[in-house]
Symmetry: D2
Subunit: 418 residues, 4 copies
């Protein structure tokens, strides 16, 4: 075990890294280790200029590998033990959706993503996880066979590239998540399943507890939630999953990779429904101190794979790793550039900032928005449509003028009834 | 001239880039061009894990050049025409301040910074600017000779590396800014001078108008402000500078590189005094739409060198470049991954998000903080001390326990009188 | 004097005023009439200078009858059909609680209250309701016999003064409410029972549905909630009560008399726990437009006795009466001084205020607090103590220094764990 | 009945009540006494159902004298030393404005108002002040002779009724205020002049300092401001007036009677321009603790006639009187029902409320709005029109449909440019 660890100021040394190097995800979790996940690539790279909001596809793995590699490195440095391949929405049906015409196939993008994740993982203490997520095909009511074929195609790249484990993540409907798990299980690697749901359950009203049981029965060894809700809400949802699994007499490991946005005003579909999504979420971004609370709460609940999703920047992951440093016996490499609880502010020029170099200060700060004419909560849009509704059908052709007119009318109607 | 430009969807081609490639900063400004600056490196790299908040020094140019290079590239891609060397606080007196013991000299850091900026600038339409900023020596009441020697040492690296122009930025006292300009002028390059002041003027109460006149008289060809205040406040301060210069019958070009944080509640020292500085500023971060308004306002006021400082991410600079695309006749490279005013949301999965793919929506959104228990404005700390006060003296030794006790008492006193 | 206004659109079905004059509360409710309650006297008279916050006792009926009479008249004029005797906390055990030494007995106060309510009720279309509420004796774990004796003493005054019906209101524990109903039933008048609970149920966790069933079984003909929560929350609680009664195959009429304060941040004990209670609730006061929404929602849910409690001013009751004017076929007398939906602003001096003389304007206004340094929600104090806990024991003697020290320590502890 | 409370600490220097009974307003102010004003009747009686928002006229003095008398009594009890006649807008031109057809003449209303004020004043330590205010005739560009005739008519009633002094209040244009003072001076009583302006000055841009000098020169012995802005803003404006008067080598006494609404977001026309005016101002209402700060600040600045205007309820005036009790050597009668700084909460049922019975608690509470979807500040409407602009012309006829259409268009235009 590695818990006999010292850190003298900010230098810290894991004593048995060598011994653990060959451990996979299950070995780590079985041993009770805390595994730190990385943060979301889609939003982080959108801000850096490499992902297009709307399609949200990861062709940057091919077009701008240096940008993707750099973000991997930053999360590794922040303490992440998992490098997820940047393969979100990298299925061919998504790459061709609504008029997007990319030069690269899903296979090319997935392969490049694996190479980048593996390259960086080898530079530190991290595993590589190949990821699949929900498909436009499912939303468009394609058959189980068709949808599973999409997952299989992606998985084959991951197996070929020999990733360490697989994650089926960002599923709004438990049925599709089960299909994904069933496919991924055929790869012979450990499988994690993570839905983008909150305490209200999936889009068809299946509770977190029931989702959890079904995912475990489908073969997932690690289950949890990611995206769509803020950390405390996600932890709450995973807690409900855990209770469900235990009540059913089953066993699993638990993961959580929430948003780095405060979303107390969300309904079941999460931040997608907020009027600020995706271009005005800034005031909701969590501070590093919010992350300390999140990490502590997730740990308390019994979750051991703790990471992030949209909105997470490297410093957010570092805060998670710093909060759990006592349990993990290790500080992240990036902490060489960070004084715990702001202690490096002792070196600041201004004396009143030096006075802030302490935990009590930052634990109690209530940050102002600087926006006195904005509210503190929003009314989420709530069209109440999901898989099975005509408006949710996805297609290859660009959104037509007629379709745009229709959604604008819907928006107006939704607003007036809010 | 380049204003006969077309952009067909998102492809756009500057027709005379070749002809302009040799233009320096003054040629561009004299021709009436809009020059887009880059964003701040200190905060952006702090979030990425390469800068330590407190000392804020740029040793990452030596230790993690790939991270610095990547950020340069992102700003270039976002449309920046200026790559500022990452040399903030890279003077030897600062590198040794308050117990910081770095392995690298100022010269090493400055040289590495020049190499990185030049490398990336050569990949696009950008100039390299070597930057110096205020020194702990000045705050500690060292002599003019001593302070000027510090600037000279940094400048010699810039001249040796043959940067395109020089910027003296982030000065709270006009006297020190004048000294910096006087030194930089000896290098034979164009000189810009930018203070971190707002409409209330410098820390000794010198008005923006008077600061401006003194900087022009000291030899600066471009003057303005950076950091410390939000965009609209900074534009207001530069407007006052411009009025002062014109009233004095002088001439100058104008620059502005504000924070990407809303700071309506700041007093004269700017965001440093906010209780949220530097670790809880998230709710104040500007959206890209705020940046459109900023860019338009700066342009209207007559400012032509328009960039950013702390808090700016590449997408903020891209928004500035997109707003001024009609005037500049060019879209930034990074706009290939961004639909103007959210237009690429037409490709989003959910119909209610597709309904947001239009300017009217984003121009009018009033983003909620998601923090109903936090206020919208803060009370800045106002110790009322600046150069000349004992508490502002900087020193090599780490802050002592006695000193910490003193500042904590001061903090308590300041709060109770707020 | 009653306006004989007819609403042709909604086919006014109100009996002629003369015919209804003799109707009691049950006749009215049985006929499907909407009965408008009055607002709370305790807070309204505290602001006017006649009630002391802390003891909250109604000795003003004896000491300042003109002030009590005037408030009755204002509510009558606003449209109220019920004049509740101002007898809140007018039991001898409460009048002597914690060092309060009043010159008047409960009987004196109760008698004076009856006289005032009857006098004003006779000036319009209103019934008189004698009210009892929870006792310190119950909180102090006195026996059923002792507690019932207190209610009996108050009731005897009401019977002697021949009020129209009786209300047992403001009960936090259903057990005590049942006792009260059992006593009041012996008076031979119709009995209403109203608890100060929200959707979470009573202080011992009994659900609204179960509370409702128990109150109906105890003999109450009208049941509902009052005080402690904002209108929408109270309506929600009554809805749950109604569902419980119907599920049990029972029958009842329903009443609601909520706060005029927004309390979205309250937990089960309601506004008492808010840090703003009772002297800083101003920013939470509902507008008249909020009252329109409340009245409409209460009506929709099937509640027909609709009034108010703490925070209600006469104009709030008038707004309830105006919203339901179509259903009631009558406008309140006080509407002679109010243009529906602001229509009298047509007579305002300033043209931009005249432009606000319409429903669309006021229905959509989102009123600012003018307090940018205050939050929008608070963290309620949650000591988690109720009847049975030593801290809840009430006594005659003034709170001792030792007791004050204890509660201050408890407060500090509660805050640090919030 | 007046409490003969003595504050030993602050060396009470108030003359015996008996000796002071015959003192007029000037004797009191000359002796350095603090004179407490009353609060505004218009808004308080609108909430109680006796004033119509829009015309805002005081016919209730005739139609509902008991309601007016009661409010006088409450302010007297709260500590007010001045009973202002409820004669706001009681000039014949206003009573007939925009289609209002009242049965009562200005003279009838003014006479009834004097009788009520005198009756209540005689019950305590208060003077009666007859008040006139700005006229629609002035806004409609009537001549000086015509406007002065209106003031004269009102004044004649005050002289006949032998009030103690006269107040010309609520003037937006200093010119009209001067005319009023000139007329009132002919009555031989002391004259106070109060404008409804803030630090930006009157509607034609005349500064507070200049307004003050002109009013003193016109003959006013007491000058100040009332209405339109929150207490701190009003105090600031009076401070500027005082500086102007002193700079001019003149002498005057100072008064302030502000709103009880927070208005940090107002421009020069004050709360009239706020989108919340007049029916959604609730979240802005000051607490009693805000009033303590106001009273202290007004006193510090040298103002000695300290009262209130719109939004003030009796408990607000009581708070002013309680804050200045040490200086005045007397507590208001109404304080028998109020524990200073919440001390009577010691008698509250719940222990956590008993813990709030102290100054530290209430001085530091930051009250939440309970409205998380509302902003904290608004954008005032700013049509930029005043006397001289066609839209400001007042007339007898009701606002026509054509005129309403026009103002709605103006409103739309104003909003889109905000």
């Amino acid at each position: 075990m590695i818990h006999s660890i010292v850190w003298l100021k900010h230098e810290c040394t894991v004593q048995t890294v060598e011994g653990r190097r060959n451990w996979g995800i299950l070995e780590r979790l079985n041993a009770g280790e805390v595994v730190i996940g990385d943060g979301g690539f889609v939003i982080a790279l959108e801000k850096r200029g490499y992902v297009k909001a709307g399609p949200w596809t990861p062709e940057a793995t091919v077009t701008h590998p240096e940008a993707v590699r750099q973000l991997h490195r930053e999360f590794l440095r922040a303490g992440a033990n998992v490098m997820q391949t940047f393969t979100f929405y990298a299925s061919d049906d998504k790459l061709e959706n609504r008029g997007q015409s990319l030069k690269y196939t899903g296979a090319q993008i997935n392969e490049a993503a694996c190479d980048l994740a593996k390259e960086v993982a080898s530079e530190g203490d991290a595993l590589v996880a190949g990821g699949v997520c929900q498909t436009p095909s499912y939303l468009s009511c394609k058959s189980e066979t068709e949808v599973k074929a999409i997952f299989k195609k992606q998985m084959e790249v991951f197996i070929k590239k020999n990733v360490d484990f697989l994650i089926a993540e960002y599923f709004e409907h438990v049925e599709e998540a089960e299909w994904a798990v069933q496919v991924l299980k055929t790869g012979g690697k450990p499988v994690a399943a993570s839905m983008c749901i909150g305490p209200e359950g999936d889009m068809h009203g299946v509770s977190p507890a029931e989702c959890a049981v079904r995912l475990v029965k489908a073969g997932a060894q690690i289950i949890g939630v990611n995206c769509h809700f803020d950390p405390m809400t996600c932890v709450q949802a995973v807690k409900m999953m855990k209770a469900g699994v235990e009540k059913a007499g089953l066993k699993a490991h638990y993961m959580v990779q929430p948003l780095a946005y405060h979303t107390p005003d969300c309904n079941c579909q999460g931040f997608i429904d907020l009027p600020e999504f995706p271009f005005a979420l800034e005031p909701r971004i969590l501070t590093r101190w919010d992350m300390h609370k999140y990490a502590r709460e997730a740990y308390k609940v019994g979750i051991r794979f703790i990471g992030g999703c949209c909105g997470f920047e490297p410093y957010h992951i570092r805060a998670v790793a710093e909060e759990l440093a006592p349990e993990r016996g290790i500080m992240p490499p990036g902490s060489e550039k960070h004084g715990m609880w702001g202690s490096a502010l002792e070196m600041h020029t201004k004396p009143w900032v030096r006075a802030r170099s302490r935990r009590e200060y930052w634990e109690n700060v209530m940050p102002a928005s600087g926006r006195p004419k904005c509210p503190s909560l929003s009314t989420p849009e709530c069209w109440g449509v999901t898989k099975g509704h005509a408006d949710l059908l996805q297609h290859k052709e660009a959104t037509s003028t007629q379709e745009m007119k229709h959604v604008l009318e819907m928006q107006k109607k939704a607003k007036s009834s809010a």
